[in-house]
Symmetry: C2
Subunit: 191 residues, 2 copies
């Protein structure tokens, strides 16, 4: 059975937990007040805002070694809503992989609004979790845990594709903020 450790207790952390526990996985949460907590999960989800990644990697790098670590962030400039704060030829996921050289970093869930994970639908479509990463077995494990919970999962390629996933997440956030789509829908991939 897959075991998850989820950093964070917000809407995304809760929604991701509901999907994977629905599929039979066990989940433990680590909150920002937990200092030096044990990390027991095989898959670790950093369900925190982008700026929180730096402190987590500084504090937990050793405990994350050898584990699969999921970056779900959308590194927007929330002052301007007009750009990302990562370099245009990089991604939050690439930065995380650099900061955690002994972990297997995947990008996932950043194109899903929390509500579409909870409802498992985007309009009339089944919600799809898009996964990018360089380790096929890690992507397959995550996809299986997500699919067991009732949501579709799609391997979109190498960790380089995190850049495109972050572009989708960025555009989707600006469209929802501008009422061009809803916080309960957004983009979806029709298979």
């Amino acid at each position: 059975m897959t075991t998850f450790t989820i950093f964070g207790n917000g809407a995304m952390a809760t929604a991701i937990a509901s999907v994977v526990t629905g599929g039979g996985a066990t989940v433990e949460h680590i909150g920002s007040n937990d200092k030096d907590a044990a990390v027991n999960g095989d898959i670790v989800v950093l369900a925190v805002p982008y700026p929180a990644l730096e402190q987590i990697t500084a504090q937990y790098a050793e405990k994350l070694a050898g584990k699969v670590v999921l970056d779900i962030t959308n590194p927007l400039n929330f002052e301007t809503f007009d750009s990302l704060v990562v370099p245009s030829d990089s991604s939050a996921a690439a930065e995380l992989a650099d900061a955690l050289p002994s972990s297997t970093v995947l990008k996932a869930f950043n194109t899903n609004f929390a509500a579409t994970l909870s409802s498992q639908t985007v309009g009339d479509n089944r919600t799809s979790v898009l996964i990018a990463g360089d380790d096929d077995a890690a992507k397959q494990n995550l996809a299986s845990a997500v699919q067991a919970g009732g949501v579709d999962a799609v391997d979109v390629g190498s960790l380089k594709r995190a850049r495109e996933l972050e572009a989708i997440g960025f555009l989707q956030l600006t469209l929802a903020a501008g009422e061009k789509t809803q916080w309960t829908t957004g983009f979806t991939l029709v298979r």
Copy 2:
């Protein structure tokens, strides 16, 4: 009534023409064998592959002055299928705007497969044309022509957002080539 000039006679040119003529617009086509053709449309669609833009702008810049010009390209590196050929902090649309300083350049249709324009559906969803540009009136005119033809249209923001549209187009092409989605479906925005 809106008048369109469409450069190209391929699948995308045909599909775009079918949408806007369905909405009552008139369309003329200019093919690669037409030398120094007249450009009569108010909206000009460059429905050609990215590498063809350079020659068209060199030949037709004067005739495109004062017109709304649509870039629909996905500037992929088709040898590697692993990157775009435009700089990471730019876009094909930004390059086109630089090459046509007297035209109003919009990005549109690059996230639509031809089949989804012809069928007007992406799975069970109505096809949406995503439009980026810096001229609100031009975007509204295009949106009206597209909506009159039965397809949804969404203003996604300034021409800077072409970068995110090209990221979606890029990822969608790699997913279709990898059989992770179909050439008749792909990404869609649920409103």
